[in-house]
């Protein structure tokens, strides 16, 4: 056999073996796969690291599409400042040759813990300089600031600049540290009351649960016991899931209704939950996350608590106040969480609960990490809770607009978020870090006003002549 033929044969056999054994391996899920992990995953991916195929295409590497499957909607909503299409323009060919920002993995390289920042970035912090090296010519105020400072807290975010663009900051110039009206969005107004009777079968009735339910929003909103406990699989008359005239194909009583039961009415909240660390495991087809499987410090006694709707929301009382603080602190045991009850935010929360503060003035864990947001639906806009607790983190500046600015002056909030020690101690003092973004914006606003004044004077002069 000729040498070339031998090589070809060897190559073909190797490729077949790799395809045969490798493809199912990528599709497998389970802890045994982690033995082959090339390096520690980023915090954001840790919960789904057993699902290699969530990111990797067999023999295809990591395609942008895999990233966009989870992050695409957020980037779209943020009007991504640096989308792939921007770099696909041939006029950027020279830049792309130096720094290929078309691929997500250029900046977000997985399994590289030694160079991964808290925001999941794996390139040196001065990467902005690849394209914006001459920024000081355009903005003299940036003279002397190196490219390593661009992405510091309170300045610029590569993808989402909704809370930092100049016109937004300009609207908030001169604000005090605490606004006169300091409150987050009000809860969605309750719908028309439609009380329904307790319809649990007598054999399964439980007086305590029934009493708790009777005081809940579910009872007021027309959701009886069967609304959650009766498992209804909707199958259409033609047998398909999406065919015409859906009917109830099966009706079995569930002692402990699962996520799917809540999801039937709370789809928006469920989608948010799926996207955050609490829910991404289950959404990826893995067993639900437990507190013990988190990387952040959790209380030892909570290790076996698994994450689902009922782990934070009492199934019958459905008291969102308990879900907003007590549920979080039952598991979380990091310095920021431990410091919460000694800080000013908790005091405001206590005042609101005691009726001494106006609605929305209290600051619970959920106020910042599961914030209320206006969601546009087919039937109009409504206030709902974002259940992806990571959505306004990474970087923390994203919280500025969606949360902090509801109660605080933006300049003060930028400084507070930039003070890492202050964040850790849960805002128990005033910021000791100052970011001069507001001064820069102020200076440009004055320059613009002067320019407009000169123009008006010139026009008046011409008119007089």
């Amino acid at each position: 056999m000729k040498t070339r033929t031998k090589y070809l044969l060897f190559g073909a056999v190797s490729a077949s073996a790799l395809a045969f054994y490798g493809t199912p391996y990528l599709r497998e899920r389970g802890p045994e796969k982690l033995r082959h992990m090339p390096g520690r995953t980023m915090d954001g991916h840790y919960q789904i690291e057993q699902r290699c195929d969530a990111c990797h295409t067999p023999f295809g590497g990591v395609a942008n599409e895999a990233c966009l499957k989870c992050h695409g909607a957020d980037l779209e909503a943020a009007s991504d400042s640096h989308p792939e299409s921007k770099f696909a323009d041939p006029r950027n060919a020279e830049r792309v040759a130096r720094f290929d920002a078309r691929a997500c993995a250029t900046c977000h390289r997985e399994h590289a813990p030694e160079r991964t920042s808290r925001t999941g970035v794996t390139v040196p912090v001065d990467f902005c300089g690849h394209c914006h090296e001459a920024i000081a010519e355009e903005r003299p105020s940036h003279q002397g600031r190196g490219p390593a400072t661009c992405a510091q807290t309170g300045c610029h975010v590569f993808h989402d600049n909704r809370g930092l663009h100049e016109d937004f900051l300009k609207k908030h110039l001169g604000e005090p540290s605490l606004l006169a009206v300091a409150a987050v969005l009000p809860r969605a107004a309750p719908g028309r009351e439609r009380r329904v009777p307790d319809d649990a079968p007598a054999a399964l009735a439980d007086a305590a649960s029934s009493a708790a339910w009777a005081k809940s929003g579910h009872a007021r909103g027309g959701v009886s016991c069967s609304g959650c406990h009766l498992d209804e699989q909707r199958v259409s008359l033609d047998g398909s899931a999406s065919g015409p005239e859906p009917r109830h194909a099966s009706r079995a009583w569930q002692r402990r209704p699962g996520f799917a039961s809540c999801r039937r009415c709370h789809e928006g909240e469920a989608q948010g939950f799926d996207g955050g660390k609490h829910g991404m495991r289950e959404a990826a087809g893995l067993p639900a996350m437990t507190a013990g499987s988190a990387r952040r410090p959790m209380k030892a006694g909570a290790a076996d608590r698994s994450l689902g709707c009922a782990s934070c929301h009492d199934a019958h009382a459905a008291d969102t106040r308990a879900a907003a603080v007590d549920a979080c602190l039952a598991c979380h045991d990091d310095a920021h969480s431990r410091a919460y009850k000694a800080g000013p935010h908790f005091k405001a929360w206590e005042r609101e609960l005691a009726g001494q503060g106006p609605p929305g003035s209290g600051v619970s864990c959920a106020t910042c990490h599961l914030p209320r947001a206006t969601r546009q639906g087919t039937d109009g806009a409504r206030v709902a809770v974002q259940h992806d607790q990571n959505a306004n983190l990474r970087p923390t500046t994203k919280m500025l607009r969606s949360v902090c600015a509801s109660c605080h002056g933006v300049g003060f909030a930028i400084d507070a978020l930039a003070d890492a020690a202050l964040v850790e101690s849960n805002f128990d003092r005033r910021p000791r870090v100052h970011v001069d973004s507001m001064e820069m914006v102020g200076a440009r606003a004055r320059a613009r006003a002067e320019k407009e004044a000169k123009k008006r004077a010139r026009e008046a002069e011409e008119k007089a002549r």
Binding site: P90, E94, H165, F168, R448
Partner: protein
């Protein structure tokens, strides 16, 4: 009515030219015999017509009737996109479709410096369309690909274009008048 028909005809021409010339973005010229220049002209005709209609019939009309304004941060202001933003969003979406051709709105006096002329062809083209008001055609190599590059004059068609640029603190030129060439539309067709 005639303008609307012209728009549809131009759109149909671009679609057919893309199908014939680009072959899904692989080859710019083929058996259809459509030259890159004709294709670039057609693309410009459509995108320019669309923006003109948007400027006159949507932005100017609705602002004039005090129904809604056009502002840069249109999502948070719940307003209309500025005509130049509308144009750029279209260019961005077209680029995502990966059909080979691209187009961009550039200027020698850009508010955002990322929209300044960068390649030699862009610099020469923008200077020439500014001086003559006529299209400029050339070929250039960007990265490892050759392109047919056409630059078309972009004129101030509405008072809003002039006032917005003249009043912006970042605008390097503040004495634009209606009808002035404010920049250029650059259309690129890959030749390889």
């Amino acid at each position: 009515m005639n303008k609307r028909c012209d728009g549809w005809k131009a759109a149909a021409l671009v679609s057919s030219l893309c199908a014939v010339s680009c072959g899904g973005g692989k080859k710019p010229t083929g058996e259809g015999g459509v030259s890159p220049r004709r294709m670039a002209d057609a693309i410009f005709t459509v995108v320019n017509a669309d923006r003109t209609v948007y400027t006159r019939e949507v932005v100017n009309r609705l602002q004039g009737e005090k129904v809604i304004k056009a502002t840069e941060h249109f999502k948070e202001d719940k307003s209309l996109p500025l005509p130049a933003q509308m144009f750029r969003m279209g260019a961005d979406l077209a680029r995502k479709s990966d059909k080979g051709f691209t187009y961009a709105l550039l200027s020698l006096w850009p508010i955002n410096k990322q929209n300044a002329a960068k390649t030699e062809a862009e610099k020469k083209g923008l200077r020439q369309v500014g001086a003559t008001g006529e299209p400029f055609y050339t070929e250039e190599k960007l990265g490892d690909r050759r392109y047919f590059t056409a630059v078309y004059p972009d004129k101030a068609i509405a008072e809003a274009c002039v006032t917005c640029h003249n009043d912006n603190v970042d605008s390097p030129k503040t004495d634009f008048k209606l009808g002035d060439v404010m920049g250029g539309v650059v259309v690129r067709i890959p030749l390889d």
